[in-house]
C-alpha cells in the first residue's frame, strides 16, 4: 500500500508578503518582455508599489503575531515571527526607496526597462526568505536568490567597465562564499541530524551531543561564518566591498548596503542565535574578533580614499563592525529567557543604517550623474553653493552616520554600545567608540568638501575677487586667500556688491544638478526618518524590542 503523500498545510495569508514580491517580480519580467516600452517611471512605480504592498501585508502579519504568538509555516520551513516581519518591512521599504532612485538612474540610458526593477524585487524576495528561514536549506535558497539578483544588478551598467568588473568580482567571490555556506550546512547536518532549525534546537535540548558530532558542528559553524561574514562584509571577508560598491551603479550600491547587509545579518541571527545558542561560547569569540577587525581597519582604510563611494564602502564595513558589537552582546544571552538588548540594537542599527545609506547614495547619485558618472570626492566641492538644501541634507545624513546626538545614527550607536556595556564587553565597546571617532573624520572630510571648498575652475575668479579688495590677511600666499574667499563665495549673500555677483556667476558655470522628484522624495524620507528617530527614538526602540521573541 503506497503511502499517500500529504502536502503540508499552508497558511497563504501568512505567506502573502513573499507571494506579492514573487508575483510582482515575475509580472514585471514577463509583462515587461511581452509589451512595448512602458511610459517613463511606470516600471519603477510597479516595483515600488509591489514592495509597498508587501510591506503593508507584513504589518498585518505583525498584528497577527501580536495576537497568536510566533510559529512556523510550510511544515517548519519558514519562521513566522516578529523578527521576520520586521526584516520584511525593512527590506521592502528599502526596495521602494531604491526603486525610486533607480528610476532616475536608468532614465534616458540603455538600461531603461523592467529588468532592474524585477531584479530588485527578486533580491528582496531572497532577502525575506533568508530572514524568515527556519531551515538551513531554505536559507541557502534565499541566499542564492538574493546573490544571483545582486550579481546581475552590480553589472547592470553595461557601458561602464567598472560595473562589469565589480559584477565579476562579486560573482566569483560570492560564489565561493556560497559554497562555504553550503558546506557549512552539510557539516551541521552531519553534526545535528537535521537542517531544520526547530529540530536542531530540539536536538540540543534533548541533550544529544557527543565529541565527534561536536567537531562537525564546530566546523560547520566556522564555514557558515565565513559564508555569512562575506555577505555582511566584515573584515577579513571585506576585500570585495570597495571595488563592488564603487563599480555598481550608485542606487545599486545603496541597495547592497541596505538590503544585502540586512538580509545577511538576519541569516546570521537565525543560524547563530536561534539555531545554535548552545554553542554560543564557541561562536561569540569569533564575532568579537570580526567586530574588532572591522572596527579598527575599515575607518583607517576609509581615510585614505579619494573616491566618495569607496569611502562610504569602508564606512559600511565599520558600521558592520558596530552591528557585530551589538551581536556579540546578544551572544552573551543567546537562548536565554531574557535576551538582553543586543538583538534589538542590531535590528535598530540595520534599519537606521539602511535609511542613512540610501539617503546618502541618493545625493551622491544625483551629483555624480551631473558630472558624467564621476564619483571622486571632488565632485561634491561647492555643493553648498549650488544646492544649499541638498548640501544640508547630505550633512545631516553624514553626521548621523558619524553618530552625533539627535540623529538616528546616535540612537543606533548608543544601542550597540549600551548592549555591549551591559554584558561587560568593555574592550570592544571602547574600541568601537574610538573607531567611531576615526570614522567621523571620514564623514567630516566629505562635509568639508561640501561646505568649505569650491568647485575646481572657480578658483581663478575667487582670486580676482580677493585682490579686488576683500579684506584678507597679510602675505600668507594667495592660496590661503583663495581659501578664505571660497568660504565667502560659499556663503555669499544676495545683497553683496557687484564683485560677489561675479563670484555667483562663476558658481553657475558648473552645471547645477537637476533634482528630480523621485530622488527628492527619497532624500526627504530618509532625512525625516533620521531626525524623527534621532529626537524621539522611543517608539522605534519599542517596536524593535519585539523581535527577540523568535519562532523555534
Amino acid at each position: 500500500m503506497p503511502q499517500e503523500f500529504v502536502g503540508p498545510s499552508i497558511d497563504w495569508f501568512a505567506l502573502s508578503p513573499l507571494l506579492v514580491l514573487l508575483g510582482g517580480g515575475l509580472f514585471l519580467l514577463v509583462a515587461g518582455a511581452l509589451t512595448p516600452r512602458w511610459p517613463r517611471g511606470w516600471y519603477a512605480l510597479a516595483s515600488a508599489s509591489t514592495a509597498g504592498t508587501a510591506a503593508v501585508l507584513s504589518v498585518f502579519q505583525w498584528s497577527i503575531i501580536d495576537r497568536d504568538g510566533p510559529g512556523t509555516l510550510v511544515a517548519g520551513a519558514l519562521a513566522f515571527d516578529h523578527f521576520a516581519q520586521f526584516m520584511t518591512i525593512l527590506l521592502c521599504s528599502a526596495v521602494v526607496l531604491v526603486s525610486l532612485l533607480c528610476d532616475d538612474d536608468v532614465r534616458g540610458t540603455d538600461r531603461e526597462g523592467p529588468e532592474v526593477f524585477a531584479l530588485l524585487l527578486m533580491a528582496a524576495l531572497g532577502g525575506v526568505v533568508m530572514a524568515s528561514a527556519n531551515d538551513l536549506i531554505v536559507m541557502f535558497l534565499g541566499l542564492e536568490i538574493l546573490s544571483l539578483a545582486l550579481y546581475v544588478l552590480v553589472a547592470s551598467d553595461r557601458r561602464r567597465s567598472e560595473s562589469q568588473e565589480g559584477g565579476m568580482k562579486y560573482f566569483v567571490l560570492g560564489g565561493f562564499a556560497s559554497a562555504f555556506f553550503l558546506y557549512g550546512i552539510a557539516l551541521l547536518y552531519g553534526g545535528t541530524g537535521s537542517t531544520n532549525i526547530s529540530d536542531i534546537v530540539a536536538g540540543f535540548q534533548a541533550g544529544v551531543s557527543t565529541g565527534r558530532e561536536d567537531a562537525l558542528i564546530l566546523a560547520g559553524v566556522a564555514l557558515l561564518l565565513v559564508g555569512l561574514g562575506f555577505k555582511i562584509a566584515a573584515v577579513p571577508f571585506h576585500v570585495w566591498v570597495p571595488d563592488v560598491y564603487q563599480g555598481a551603479p550608485t542606487p545599486i550600491t545603496a541597495f547592497m548596503a541596505s538590503v544585502g547587509k540586512a538580509s545577511a545579518f538576519a541569516a546570521l541571527l537565525r543560524v547563530l542565535v536561534v539555531a545554535l545558542p548552545f554553542h554560543r561560547d564557541d561562536w561569540r569569540p569569533v564575532i568579537w574578533v570580526l567586530a574588532l577587525l572591522s572596527l579598527t581597519l575599515a575607518p583607517m582604510m576609509a581615510i585614505v580614499q579619494t573616491n566618495v563611494k569607496r569611502m562610504l564602502a569602508y564606512g559600511s564595513i565599520s558600521h558592520a563592525g558596530f552591528m557585530l558589537v551589538a551581536f556579540e552582546a546578544a551572544g552573551h544571552r543567546a537562548g536565554e529567557a531574557d535576551p538582553g538588548t543586543g538583538m534589538q540594537s542590531v535590528v535598530v542599527y540595520l534599519a537606521v543604517y539602511s535609511a542613512l545609506t540610501i539617503g546618502t547614495m541618493a545625493v551622491i547619485s544625483l551629483v555624480s550623474r551631473a558630472q558624467g558618472g564621476d564619483t571622486r570626492l571632488t565632485i561634491l566641492a561647492g555643493l553648498a553653493t549650488r544646492h544649499p538644501v541638498l548640501a544640508l541634507s547630505l550633512t545631516l545624513l553624514l553626521i548621523a552616520q558619524a553618530g552625533v546626538p539627535l540623529t538616528s545614527g546616535f540612537v543606533a550607536k548608543f544601542g550597540a554600545i549600551q548592549a555591549a556595556v551591559t554584558e561587560g564587553s568593555y574592550v570592544i565597546a571602547i574600541v568601537a567608540m574610538a573607531a567611531a571617532v576615526i570614522a567621523a573624520f571620514v564623514y567630516l572630510r566629505i562635509m568639508v568638501t561640501v561646505w568649505m571648498s569650491t568647485a575646481p575652475g572657480a578658483d581663478r575668479q575667487m582670486l580676482a575677487y580677493v585682490s579686488l579688495g576683500a579684506p584678507a590677511d597679510d602675505a600668507d600666499g594667495d592660496a590661503a586667500d583663495g581659501d578664505a574667499a571660497a568660504g565667502a563665495a560659499a556663503t555669499s549673500t544676495s545683497t553683496a556688491t557687484a564683485t560677489s555677483t561675479e563670484v555667483d556667476t562663476t558658481g553657475a558655470a558648473i552645471a547645477p544638478e537637476a533634482i528630480t522628484l523621485s530622488t527628492a522624495v527619497v532624500i526627504a524620507a530618509t532625512v525625516t526618518f533620521t531626525i524623527v528617530v534621532g529626537v524621539a527614538p522611543g517608539w522605534f526602540l519599542d517596536l524593535a524590542a519585539n523581535v527577540t521573541n523568535y519562532a523555534r
Binding site: I399, A402, V404, P405, L406, F410, F414, G415, I417, Q418, V421, T422, Y426, A429, I430, M433, A434, A436, V437, A440, F441, L444, V448, W451, M452, S467, G469, A470, P471, A472, D473, D474, A475, D476, A480, D483, A484, G487, A488, A490, T491, S492, T493, S494, T495, A496, S500, A536, P537, G538, L541, D542, A545
Partner: protein
Amino acid sequence: MQTITTDNWLLTVGTFLPLVGVLVLIFIPKGEEQLIKTLGIVTAGATLAVGIFTMFRFDFGQAEKLQFFVDVTWIEVIRSNYTIGLDGISLPLYLLSMVITFLVMIYTWDNMPDAGNPKAFYILMLLLQVGMAGTFIAQDLILFFVFFELVLLPMYFMIGVWGGEDRRYASLKFFLYTMFGSALMLVAFLALFFQTGAESFGFAQLIEAGAGIDRNVQIWIFAGMFIGFAVKVPMFPFHTWLPDAHTQAPTQGSVILAAILLKLGTYGFVRIAIPMLPEGAKAWAPVIAILAVIGIIYGALCCLAQTDMKRLIAFSSVAHMGFVMLGIATLTEFGINAALFGMIAHGWITGMLFFVAGAVKHRYHTLEIKRLSGLLTQVPRLGWILGLCAMASLGLPGLAGFWGEFPVILSAYNPGFGLSEPLFRTLMVIAALGTVLAAAYLLWLYQRTAFGEPTEEFAGRTTHAVGAAVAPDHADDHHDAHHDEELRDVTVTEWIAWTPLLIAIVVFGVYPQLMFRVFDPAVTELVARLGESLNP
C-alpha cells in the same frame, strides 16, 4: 537631593527659545541682513530676559536645592528622562551662556566675519546657545551628553567656515579631539549606569548609588569621564586643539569657546564625575592636580613664546583652566568655590581679551605682536580696555580674576579627605610661581602692543588716511587698500557689547561675595556628600 518644582516651565523656555528664532530665521531670505541680525539679537535678548527672570525667581536661600525641577519621560526604553533643574552651581553658568551669546550677537552687528552670510552665522550661534544652556540644566546623563555634543557641530562650522587660513585643520582637530573624549565619556556613563543598577540616568539617583561601586571600578569609570572632560577643559596634555581652534576661529567663535565651551568640561567634573564617583575622584585628585599645575606653568611658558596675540590669549586659557582644575582637585569647599568663581571670571576676562584681539585684527589686519605698537596713542580707549583685561587676567586684586586664582592657591594648602599635603603644598608653591609668569606674559604683551609709538607701518593712520606710509616688507596691493581706511577707536557697537563684561569684571572683583553666596550652599552640600562616602 531635594527639589523645588515651582515655575518649572522657565528652564525649558529659556533653553529652547533660541530654536524659535532659528525657525523664523530659516524662512527669511538671505539678503535681508539687517532683519536677520535684528531677529537674532532679539531672540538672544528674549532668551536672556527669560534667564534674568529665572534669576529673580531663583530662591537664593535654598541655592543647594535643584529649582525649577522637571522630570518627565523621554526615551523610556533606555530609561533616560527629560530631567532638568538649576542650583547654585549651574545658575551663574547658565546665565553666563545667555549673556555671552547676546553680547556676541550684538558685536556681530558691525563685525560680521569675512565669509559673510549672517543668516547661517546667527542660526549657528542660536543653536550653540541651546546646547550650552541645555548642558547646564540637564540632570540626566543622556540628556547631558546630547546637549554636550550638540555644541560641537555649530562650533565646528563656525571655525570651519568663518575661520582664518588654517581653519579646516583647526576645525577638524577640534571636532576629533572633543569627539574622542566624548566617546570614552559615553562608555563611562553607561558603565556607571550598569554598575550602579540605577533605575534611570538621573543625576540624583546616580549620585545616590555611585558611591556604592567598588573602588577599583570607580577609578576606571572616572578615567573615562576624566578623558572626556579633560579634553574639553582642556587640561595638559589634551590641550593641543585649543590654540589652533582659538587662533583660527572668528572672534565670535573664540569668545564663545573661551567663555562657555571650556566650562562645560570643568562643570562636568563638578557636577558629574566627582559627586558620582567619590572614591574615583579621590584617587584621581593628585593626578588632576599635577596635570593642572603642569598646565599652569606650561601654558604660561608657551605664552611667553608666542608671537601672535590671539594665540597668546589661547595659551593663557590653558594656564587659567589649570587653576580651576587645581581648585577642583583639592576636593574642598574652599577650592571648588574658588574654581567655580574662576570659571565665571575667566569667561568674562578671556572673552573680553578675545573681543579686543578681534577689534585689533579688524583695525590692523594683523595680530602679530611685533608689528603692533602704541595702541594707547592710536586707539587709546581700546588700549585702556586691553590694559584692564590684562590686569584682570593676571589676577590683580580688585578685579574678578583675582578671586579665581588666589583662593585656589590658598585652598591647595589644605586639601580635603586625606589627600597628600606635601604634594599639594608643593603644587601650591609652583602654582603661585605661575601667577608671576602670568604677570610677565600679560604685562609683556601689553607693553609691546600698547606702549610706545605706533610702528612705521601703521604710523600715519591715526586720524587721516592720506599718504599712508607703506613699510617695504609688506607692501602689496592688499595693504594699500587697508591703509586708506581710517583707524577708529572703540565703536558704539563695541561699547554696547563690552560694557556689561567690563562692569562685571570690576563689580565682582570688588565684591566677590555676590557670586560666592550663590555657589556656596550647593558646594557645601556637594562636599558634605563626598564626606559621607569618603569618611563614613
